[in-house]
Symmetry: C2
Subunit: 416 residues, 2 copies
């Protein structure tokens, strides 16, 4: 069981999480729970660091930030104890989460769960501080990057061969679109790992991308649920080849910034130069489009999208690089994506997306596709409308696509 | 160097501490600094625990509270880095502070400073999270109790064979009385370990009692200094037999509560019963007075003082015990103490103290003495006056007693 920051924010929230953990224990299950830092704790610690230093040392940032999850675990252990159960909190290091030494974005190398196994054997509930580990070589505290607690939970579920990895958040599952934009969006009873990967990488915030990758690679079934209400959430699980795939599962969106380099020298290696420099500056590039020059004396144009927070850094890096005649930027773009494992076998989805946007006079600035996803970059202020229109066009609202299937044995056939 | 909570409270405070550490390093010294939790952090964490549970688990309390000092160390390492030096923060466990497993009041068993030595060898400044360690057997995080960072600093100074252990606080040293009560109180250039022990246990808050014991037992010289101003503070060091002792060094005071049991059965073991029960409830008893019964059919009276916060707990414990006819309590008493290594060889100090209080019509409720201390319990509202009058009677004000002696080679002779 993993509880996110909003699920442990107040004392009442912690007691609610403790109650869920205790209920699971009392239903006969052995429970290991991973907790995030409370509410805004991590943000406050980050702010404290930047109050001290414009470029906080990464090793020390990890030492600093790892305290937040420990606080949550210690407090939750106290609450569980008052409910008559025996709980023990463990730091990432004590829980055996061994990582590489890439501070602030460490990757899990190994889970040495001896101490967890011992505690479970003593009939204890184990609470593990999420988001952190210990580097195998230097024995320093490391963190897994933002949202890393999901990865901690999935990695422990894999190492302990858990029945399921339950991720508790402030939303009740994975939806066919953001319900704040599309009120008729419906909760999906299940999505495949592949779909979830595409959704996580295109704006669905409910699960961290790396945790989904880890779950897919290790076959860990995830159950996304609400901390605040009962009832089933969304299962994330492996695709079953015998089942009919729904054509389209969900519409996601994200706000980004676009950078266009005009008059780029069209010579081998220039793209590598640009994206290498951005990578060195830790700027993650999302979509990339390069226009080939029409005639020999023309130069190429290169457009890409990045997180809005990284825009100034990107401008600085590219300015120094001096590889293009001009750098144009647009901080007000959005990306609307449609995801569905069934797209693979259903041609015509892309055409329908483009037609829907065109009918509504929403201009498409960039397009990228994968076998199960189509993404369009549009002006930021048109994003909500684009999401609503596509959601409507594919009839993704309540009762339209998937039936609830608690047995998980088969999926309803979908017709488009 | 050890910096207390007020010395690392704000970002500016942390930078000021970092600057002092860097200055010491640049003067050619190897520096290990111990930091406390920032400002009110520990109080806030304690409050968070009591918001969850009326009786927080001690193991989890240690996990919770140990985060405060780690935050201070990580932030200070960032600040030092920005000043062009290489710093590394270590948790108590990483620094090799091995304790017993008495959670919330662990005692240091060993200091395995390998990692500190290695870091110093690499020309790094080492920052150690105070107040915490790791239990030798269970590998759990432990804490040393309130004020434990002083003990961490002294223990590291002993283990590393440091030249001096500098304790930085918001006061500039040890004074002949609390300057808030006695404006003419003077800063003492030095006090002996024995005097400091008596002063710490009788109200002087500048150094934690256990740290002074540890320093005396391991011969660690302590220098109490101000974080906020320059100039020497107070040296705490071993008495030198060849020196003349000042008769009286300081007047200290503390506010307490008094409990009197009347009609106590005068039989062997009854005192053991009473104080055993209080000890089990973690109530620390300070002064104790028992009046023998005058005739055979009379019962004994027993009076003692405790911390005010413990009064209700003591009343509960004693009520259950039912060993006395009546329990009288006075939550409004104070203890005024006069401390001086020279008292040993100067009779008449006690008489002068009693006479001074009597001349000012301050009633003495209880008296206790040690070879170098006399304590009187008086009504709480008479404490400031009692301190002032005794300070005046023994002429402890500026220039009266000790001359500054930066060489530390000899102490001025004092005449009374």
């Amino acid at each position: 069981m993993k509880f996110g920051g909003t699920s442990v924010a107040s004392a009442d929230d912690i007691k609610r999480a403790a109650r869920r953990i205790v209920n699971a224990r009392e239903s006969g299950k052995q429970v290991v729970a991973v907790l995030s830092a409370r509410g805004k704790t991590t943000d406050e610690l980050v702010a404290a660091a930047y109050e001290i230093s414009p470029r906080p040392l990464e090793r020390e940032m990890d030492m600093l930030l790892s305290t937040g999850e420990r606080i949550s675990c210690a407090l939750c252990a106290m609450a569980i104890h008052d409910m008559g159960h025996n709980a023990i909190s463990l730091t990432g290091s004590q829980a055996g989460i061994v990582t590489d030494s890439s501070h602030t974005k460490a990757r899990i190398l190994d889970v040495r769960a001896d101490r967890i196994h011992a505690a479970l054997k003593e009939d204890r509930i184990v609470l593990v501080a999420g988001f952190q580990g210990v580097s195998g070589d230097s024995k320093d505290v490391t963190t897994l990057g933002r949202g890393g607690s999901d990865t901690t939970a999935v990695a422990l579920a894999a190492a302990l061969d858990a029945e399921v990895c339950e991720i508790y958040t402030d939303v009740s599952g994975v939806f066919s679109a953001d319900p704040r934009i599309v009120p008729e969006a419906r909760k999906l009873p299940y999505v495949s790992f592949e779909e979830m990967l595409e959704m996580s990488s295109s704006g669905a915030g409910v699960l961290q991308l790396r945790s989904v990758e880890y779950a897919r690679n290790h076959g860990v079934q995830i159950h996304c649920r609400s901390s605040f209400e009962d009832g089933p959430g969304t299962l994330v699980l492996a695709e079953d080849a015998t089942m009919e795939q729904p054509m389209v599962t969900a519409v996601t969106h994200a706000y980004e910034a676009r950078v266009t380099l005009t008059g780029l020298k069209d010579e081998p290696g220039v793209a590598g130069l640009v994206f290498g420099a951005l990578a060195d500056a830790n700027v993650n590039v999302d979509m990339i489009i390069q226009n080939e020059p029409v005639s020999d004396d023309q130069k190429a144009d290169l457009s890409f999208t990045i997180a809005r927070d990284d825009l100034q850094k990107a401008i600085d890096v590219l300015g120094e690089l001096d590889a293009a005649d001009e750098i144009e930027t647009d901080p007000e773009v959005g990306k609307v994506s449609i995801v569905g494992a069934g797209m693979r076998s259903h041609p015509g989805v892309a055409a329908k997306v483009f037609r829907t946007l065109g009918d509504n006079e929403i201009n498409i600035e960039m397009i990228s596709t994968s076998p199960i996803k189509i993404s369009c970059v549009v002006a930021a202020d048109r994003v909500p409308e684009a999401v609503r229109k596509i959601h409507e066009a594919f009839d993704l609202g309540a009762d339209a696509v998937r039936e609830e299937d608690p047995s998980g044995e088969h999926r309803p056939r979908v017709t488009s």
